[in-house]
């Protein structure tokens, strides 16, 4: 590699990109180039339509050779997008890729300014800063860090299941961590899936059992990620395994304990059935639950004291006859003494697939949810129409009667500044599906109250058409009020303006189904912090780029898939899960990551051995050499955050690419015109 000698005079090539109209419309790029050309050390300056294009990159390469350049500055977009591109071009031209500096005159300038003259002056200052800075750059080597081949998948819904299976089938070892007692997520609760109406269980449960039995997948259900340390390729993760009071290795899934529980009848609200059904203290969430292992709910099991321990933990009592233990017999799977357990694992990459929660309809009192028993959420109705649901698939109201008229209220907790601004994207389609299923089950008259029907997926519009042709009614207007019909008829009035008629409709119905929207999980912010991700304004995890890096995050090696990124249906979720798995595999199969050489290093002669940097390092990259009484930075662990550099009292820690001389030269350059 042709590195320049310290004595060599800088010959800087400066390139101002138009980015089509993105930059050129606001900044006089030719004027900036002309300005740069005259600055000390600059050998040539050009403006060009698209620097990132192949001819643009070729320009840099040929200029390096033709004009004997030894430094390059490109003023264009965010380094996040194209720093890599231009460093490559610089390297291909024959000089060290770190003898390059990029200036962002798009996001930092043209996109946020309107005055052309002022924006052009600002661009000149930015470019001058880079020119002064790059003169002081020295050649650096990129380091390689090996990637641990194992993958952590967080969340066992359809996204996590699909990602885990894809990776495991490719021979990667996967840890799948699921918070609930069984994997399956929301999809396991659905009856049919739109628009093809395949039975959700029929297509999901084979995948669930494959996960359960796959030799490459370690499935930890009823578990949560507690702590994450490290960086891409080398994450150390702690997983909290909650006690289910059943030894998973010994339980055969025979469920004898359930039928022999001292509670003869199921008595406690069943979470899987949206609390519409009942379960016992010892239970399995649903028939196809994976793993096929029961669990005991210490909140209601008679063998636990109602008084909690000092840290709120369940305390075993001895009040119950323990008929479950008797029924389990020789298997000895029931273990009331089980405690929470922390497992520590090493993985190289992570796929976060933590899904969504549905909107809490009690937040908007005028829809009557929680007030009128015949107002249901869509997820409750999924269980009502399901053959394995609390009513065996018979759609009956809480009083046992079959509804004859049903209103489906769209956009509940979606497209509403009072709740969530975003469109939840799946509700129009699942409302159509529920309309079809409810009509099929009950023959009821069904009224869909919608604002806009959104059916843009494959086969969606055709499905809309067929449901409309079945005689389901569509009223264009959002429901604004739900209240009981006068005269004690037991019916509810849903009030909406039929905006196509221009009249207020007061439709009496037996049942109201609220098409609740999709929201980030309640603890999305905790998960975000744990994996050092970002969230968008609605609270969903933010992708690295909305178009070109939809499953990557701003943390290398951490990918996202499914509804934790934004509301999406099953096909899109599965597509994303596959993409996330492929991204993880691309890293694993490469075997290493190149690390930016922006690491910190100690000037040993100047280090006073005060140790103040040691505890500050977020990556535990700094140790103390007791013999020499000096701090030592492990370059492989250093991520170049600069914390130690800023904190060192004697100024004896320096950082590649961010040396004081470079930073001051840049500041002086930016301010030179002021």
């Amino acid at each position: 590699m042709a590195n320049i000698k310290a004595t060599e005079q800088p010959r800087i090539g400066v390139y101002i990109c138009h980015c089509g109209h993105n930059i050129a419309a606001t900044i006089d790029v030719a004027a900036v180039a002309k300005f740069a050309e005259k600055l000390p050390g600059v050998a040539l300056a050009r403006d060009y339509k698209y620097m990132c294009s192949a001819p643009g990159q070729d320009l840099i390469q040929s200029d390096i050779e033709g004009h004997k350049l030894n430094r390059v500055v490109v003023a264009s977009c965010s380094p996040l997008l194209h720093e890599h591109t231009f460093r490559n071009a610089t390297e291909k031209g024959g000089i060290n890729p770190f003898l390059f500096q990029m200036v962002n005159i798009r996001e930092h300038n043209s996109w946020v300014h309107t005055d052309r003259a002022i924006a052009t002056e600002k661009a000149k200052a930015q470019v001058q800063g880079a020119i002064r800075r790059v003169a002081g750059h020295s050649a650096l080597e990129t380091k390689r860090v090996p990637i641990h081949p194992d993958v952590l998948v967080v969340g066992g819904g359809i996204a996590g299941i699909h990602a885990a299976m894809t990776l495991a089938n490719a021979g990667k070892k996967v840890y799948l961590v699921e918070r609930e007692p069984s994997i399956g997520g929301h999809m396991a609760k659905f009856d049919k899936t739109f628009p093809t109406l395949d039975c959700a269980a029929c297509i999901l449960t084979p995948k669930m059992s494959s996960v359960g039995s796959h030799p490459n997948i370690t499935l930890w259900s009823y578990s949560e990620v507690a702590k994450v340390d490290g960086f891409v390729g080398n994450y150390t993760v702690q997983v909290k395994r909650k006690p289910r009071y059943i030894n998973e290795d010994l339980c055969t899934g025979c469920q004898e304990c359930i039928s022999s529980c001292v509670f003869k009848e199921p008595k406690f609200p069943d979470e899987f059935n949206e609390r519409l059904g009942k379960r016992r203290p010892v239970y399995i969430p649903f028939a196809q639950a994976t793993p096929q292992v029961v669990l005991i709910d210490p909140e209601v099991c008679l063998n636990f004291k109602r008084q909690k321990g000092p840290n709120g933990e369940p305390v075993v009592g001895d009040k119950c006859k323990k008929t479950c233990v008797e029924a389990c017999g020789e298997n000895k799977a029931i273990d009331f003494t089980q405690k929470e357990e922390i497992k520590e694992i090493q993985v190289g990459t992570v796929i976060v697939a933590t899904g969504f929660k549905t909107f809490d309809a009690t937040r908007v009192p005028y829809f009557g949810y929680g007030k009128y028993p015949n107002v249901y959420t869509s997820l409750e109705v999924e269980r009502l129409v399901n053959a394995s649901g609390p009513t065996g698939g018979h759609v009956v109201l809480r009083d046992g009667k079959e509804p004859k008229t049903i209103a489906i209220a769209h956009c509940i907790g979606s497209r509403d500044e009072n709740t969530n601004r975003h469109c939840s994207r799946v509700c129009c389609m699942y409302s159509l599906k529920l309309a079809h299923l409810l009509k099929e089950h009950t023959g009821a008259e069904i009224y869909n109250f919608y604002i806009d029907m959104r059916t843009p997926g494959k086969g969606f519009e055709e499905f809309y058409q067929s449901v409309a042709a079945e005689g389901v009614h569509f009223v264009r207007g959002k429901i604004a009020d739900v209240y009981p019909e006068a005269g004690g008829t037991g019916k509810l009035i849903v009030q909406a303006e039929d905006t196509l008629l221009g009249r207020v409709r007061k439709q009496p119905v037996d049942m109201v189904v609220l098409a609740v929207g999709l929201e980030p999980q309640a603890d999305a912010q905790d998960v975000r912090r744990m994996f050092n991700m970002s969230c968008g304004s609605e609270g969903f995890f933010l992708e690295r780029h909305p178009k070109l890096a939809p499953v990557s995050t701003f943390t290398d090696g951490v990918f996202i898939a499914g509804a934790c990124q934004s509301p999406k249906d099953i096909p899109d979720t599965v597509a994303q899960a596959g993409a996330a798995a492929a991204e993880a595999m691309a890293l694993i199969d490469k075997g290493h990551v190149e690390q930016e050489p922006n690491t910190a290093f100690i000037i040993e002669d100047e280090c006073s051995g005060c140790k103040s940097c040691v505890p500050l390092c977020p990556y535990t990259a700094i140790t103390f050499d007791e013999a020499k009484k000096k701090a030592v930075i492990n370059e492989a662990l250093c991520k170049g955050c600069g914390t130690c550099v800023a904190s060192c009292p004697s100024g004896s820690i320096k950082q590649n690419l961010f040396e004081d001389g470079e930073i001051f030269a840049e500041i002086e350059g930016v301010l030179a015109q002021v």
């Binding site: 005028y366 497209r415 500044e417 604002i451 207007g477 009030q495 207020v504």
Partner: protein
């Protein structure tokens, strides 16, 4: 655009229908997605002709003159229901409707007589009833608790009590006043009233589109308030409170202001021990639009009522953000005859029917319009033997031994 907006063009800082897009709240109007929530929640949704959704379509289509020509907006009782529920967060009642309403009024062939009279009275006498301004503080003579007038005592006070028109002149409003005075005394609060100098706060004039009259009253009241020294203003008028808090600051009003219900709720811990008399009431509380939907005071009146021994609280079908207006806002107070002639159901009657359905024997309110409106409506629907109407302060005073 039409000549509708030509009047204010000279002043670029004033929002008009023509320059909505220059203001953030105005731009928001055009984010309407035509969902119909406004019409569906409007108590006169079927009678509006052009509900807010349709007004926006007409505005976009350049047909707003047709809206101005329709008297539909006279039915708007400014109850804030459409605004509270609008999924786009459009400030319908605050921004759009007043601008349209002003134009509707200028084009009315004839302002309904009762309303016309009320506005004239307000202009001439400072109150819509046409009572003598010299009798504004007359009620105070019948108060067992002495009610000082600030101009007479000539010293600063803690609370300046802005009484408002209905409480000052209506006999049932006077009852609430005497209760308020009793509560002030029980709390040891140093208070005074403005007496005969006080003028209508004018909120309803503003909301029927009489902005000129509103501005006049605002200036007059602000000037008056500036004459005296006090720490804060307390008023029992829900509409006065709303105007003071949201509109008066533009005219230089910078005083701390409270509505009496939330004010007394702040002092609940000290009031509670004094509530010793058991009242045999099942109470249902009517959320006043200006206090509830527009200012978020839902819990405070209920907390006061729940503190009264013997009182059992029950809720109507429509309560809180979903409450139904008494029909008195936005000039509705003086449009009952007009609505009756059009064959509309009176909202106060719709409301008391719901109240009666709860089985309660007392309807509690915290806006001065409501006592008289609901008492009248109860008579009309034949419920006056089953239910009494009481201001929250009346019930509190009643529960205090003398």
């Amino acid at each position: 655009m039409s000549n509708a907006t030509a009047t204010a063009d000279s002043d670029a800082g004033v929002m008009t229908l023509a320059n909505l897009a220059n203001f953030p709240e105005g731009r928001k109007v055009f984010s309407c997605m035509q969902c119909g929530t406004c019409a569906a929640t409007c108590p006169y949704g079927d009678e509006m002709g052009f509900p807010p959704r349709a007004i926006i379509t007409m505005l976009e289509a350049g047909l707003i003159e047709e809206v101005f020509a329709s008297p539909g907006l006279l039915n708007c009782v400014t109850c804030y229901a459409c605004m509270a529920k609008c999924p786009r967060g459009i400030k319908l009642t605050e921004v759009l409707l007043p601008l349209v309403k002003e134009q509707v009024f200028t084009r009315l062939k004839e302002v309904p007589a009762e309303l016309q009279k009320a506005l004239e009275n307000t202009m001439r006498y400072g109150n819509p009833m046409g009572e003598s301004p010299r009798k504004r503080a007359l009620w105070a003579k019948s108060s067992p608790v002495p009610v000082p007038v600030i101009s007479e005592i000539k010293r600063p006070v803690d609370v300046l009590w802005f009484v408002e028109c209905y409480p000052a002149y209506h006999p049932r409003g006077n009852d609430a006043n005497r209760a308020t005075a009793k509560l002030f005394k029980a709390l040891g609060i140093d208070f005074a009233i403005l007496g005969n100098e006080e003028k209508c706060a004018g909120e309803c004039a503003r909301l029927v589109g009489e902005t000129g009259l509103f501005d006049m009253l605002t200036d007059s009241n602000v000037k008056l308030l500036r004459k005296y020294q006090f720490k804060r203003i307390v008023t029992g008028g829900a509409h006065a409170y709303d105007a003071f808090k949201r509109k008066y600051p533009a005219a230089g009003f910078d005083f701390e202001v409270h509505h009496s219900t939330p004010f007394f709720a702040q002092h609940l811990a000290r009031i509670k021990p004094k509530l010793t008399k058991k009242l045999d009431y099942t109470v249902t509380y009517h959320d006043a639009c200006a206090l509830g939907r527009h200012n978020g005071f839902y819990d405070e009146p209920r907390a006061l009522l729940a503190a009264i021994p013997g009182v059992k609280l029950v809720e109507m079908t429509h309560s809180g953000v979903n409450s139904i207006c008494c029909g008195g806002g936005g000039g509705g107070m003086w449009l009952d005859t007009y609505y009756a002639a059009k064959g509309y159901e009176r909202l106060s009657e719709r409301r008391v029917k719901e109240a009666l359905d709860t089985g309660a024997n007392a309807l509690a309110v915290s806006c001065p319009y409501e006592v008289s409106r609901f008492e009248d409506a109860l008579k009309v629907v034949g419920g006056d033997k089953r239910m009494v109407v009481r201001d929250v302060v009346e019930l509190l005073a009643e529960a205090m031994e003398d």
